[in-house]
Amino acid sequence: MRSPPVEPRRTQRAEAPKPETWPAWATAIAVLAILLAWSPTYVSHLLVVLGIYLLLAYSLNLVTGFGGLIVFCQAIFYGIGAYAYALSRLRTGAPGAQVEELLWTGNLGWVPGILLAGGVSALLAGGIGWICLRFRGDYFIFATLGFQMIVFVLLYNWLELTRGPFGIYGIARPSVLGWMAHEPWQYALLTGLWLLALLPPLFRLYRSPFGLSLAAMREDERAAKAMGIDTNAIAVRALAVAGGVAGVAGAIYAGYVTYIDPTSFSLRESIFILTLLLLGGGGNVKGPLAGSAVMLALPELLRFVGLPDAVAANVREIFYGALLAALMYWRPQGLAGATSIR
């Protein structure tokens, strides 16, 4: 029997000089400043969208990148967050006649509204996870897909709760102590603040014993169980956290666009979020960032190339699809990910 090799990795890493990251950061900030000076409205809009998708990709990363569970219902956590925020703050905005038709509307403040959105989504995600985690593999994927379809039908057809395809308009904008956001750059700033509040704890979770347990479950669930990890319990918790963060993303989205309808939270959106993560790769911090940047930059690039709008959407989708297939063949861990899916 061979003796286990001495692990030299940690000492080697300590000796190697840590690469400086500040030039990259400085370049990024400089580029951003130039872009903002060039077209503040457009770039701010892109930043808000990027911020929302970063929240979605990083939250899904906890479950799919670390836990190794492919989830096809992230869009409903996002959507439920958006609806919870919209309804709980409707009376503070410009509700119009729709208040009479709706089962429940509230007049919460901005921060309580967002926190409520996160909480409701976290509860929903935990509940769905509790049911779906009786399965693994294809069956788990299909169970989450089933809940995506079920909740979508509810959002679309339960008119008293959501007004279905008519959507909810006049959703309250973010406002703190009498000040209200109107300009895109203000939204970009507020979105940035939420990222600052949510992402560092999430990254900490990635490195914590909890994140490592999830990674152990991904690598070999039976071994993880043998080590005393209650894999079902940690996966439910991971899903609840992912759902909560996605709910906050939904709330930011609702406050930004001020009109939502269920079509923004369909199966296609779930596939898009999953593509975002798988393209960039999961299991680390770099991957989702790379994926979100590529997926969101591509349509803008195509726009600048001058493709007519009628074909641009299809060309973009073809590119995503082909890239996804090519990555799965040559680089299943994605552009910058640490792990590949099974």
Binding site: F147, I150, A313, L323
Partner: protein, 293 residues
């Protein structure tokens, strides 16, 4: 009551079509353990090939259908030769193959959208809309054609389940490597299965195209139908896939009768989750030990 009978009659027609769809999906899933997401793309591809053959090339409906089935089989074979086969030889994990297949489906769907646009296409066929009354229910000619074609096909498939090909399909799903060790040409059988799946999916594709028409983005819905039928009925047996198709179609009729078509997805997926929770192997599935999966 007459309405219910009529809806059940419509359900029976849909059941035959869903069952054929489910068999096409199930064959690939059962044999290669490939979650063939691009099956939806194959469905739409066949439907639009058929549309072009009828409206552009000017063939008759039946001859176009036959050519479409042949082309669908060719497309299925090409998918294995050019796409799934390389993944299989590389031993890519099932999850990654599923994601790649999703990518392929997106490429097919949007490639077709570039050619045909996003609008729904139909085939004008005045003769087929006429209906005949059989007792309390009325069948349109196209419904009768759907029932007849799919019914004959399902009978043939059920009868063929003891042939060598289908036994190899089951053996592949159990242990593909052992099959190779015994000298069976695995690559050839995989290609055959994909060609068969591509040919089968072309049948409901043509029939739906003649009946109500399609747009290029509807493949996902039909893929989900097929997958739900296979999982609910039980992955292990072809009779299970067919039963799943029947169940879904009848459920659709009953939901339309009692509630409204808009709750269909909720009922179908709710039922799937309940079935999987209570009987993971599906209604007609075969229970396995954890080590065998």
């Amino acid at each position: 009551m007459n309405l219910l009978l009529q809806l059940l009659a419509n359900g029976l027609v849909n059941a035959a079509m869903f069952a054929v769809l489910a068999v096409g999906f199930g064959l690939v899933y059962r044999s290669g353990r490939v979650f063939h997401v691009a099956y939806g793309g194959a469905f739409v591809l066949a439907a639009f090939l058929f549309h072009s053959l009828v409206t552009v090339a000017g063939f008759g409906l039946w001859s176009s259908g036959a050519v479409t089935i042949a082309l669908g089989a060719l497309a299925g074979w090409a998918m294995e030769a050019g796409f799934y086969g390389p993944f299989f030889r590389r031993r890519t994990t099932p999850g990654a193959v599923m994601v790649a297949s999703l990518g392929l489906g997106i490429v097919i769907e949007n490639g077709l959208a570039l050619i045909y646009g996003d609008e729904a296409r139909t085939i004008p066929s005045p003769g087929l809309a006429e209906s005949v009354a059989l007792g309390p229910v009325r069948w349109s000619m196209i419904q009768l054609a759907q029932l007849l074609v799919c019914g004959v096909l399902l009978t043939i498939l059920a009868g063929a389940s003891r042939t060598r090909l289908f036994r190899v399909v089951r053996a592949m799903g159990e242990n593909a490597e052992l099959l190779q060790v015994h000298g069976w040409r695995l690559a050839r059988y995989r290609a055959t299965v994909f060609a068969l799946s591509g040919g089968l999916v072309a049948v409901p594709a043509c029939l739906v195209m003649v009946d109500v028409g399609l747009d290029v983005h509807m493949g996902m819905g039909y893929l989900l139908l097929a997958a739900v039928a296979v999982l609910a009925g039980g992955v292990m047996r072809m009779s299970g896939w067919m039963l799943g198709g029947l169940l879904l179609a009848m459920l659709q009729s009953i939901v339309v009768w009692r509630f409204s078509a808009r709750w269909m997805d909720l009922v179908a997926f709710g039922l799937l989750v309940v079935i999987l929770l209570s009987r993971r192997e599906g209604l007609l599935g075969i229970r396995k030990r954890a080590e065998e999966i």
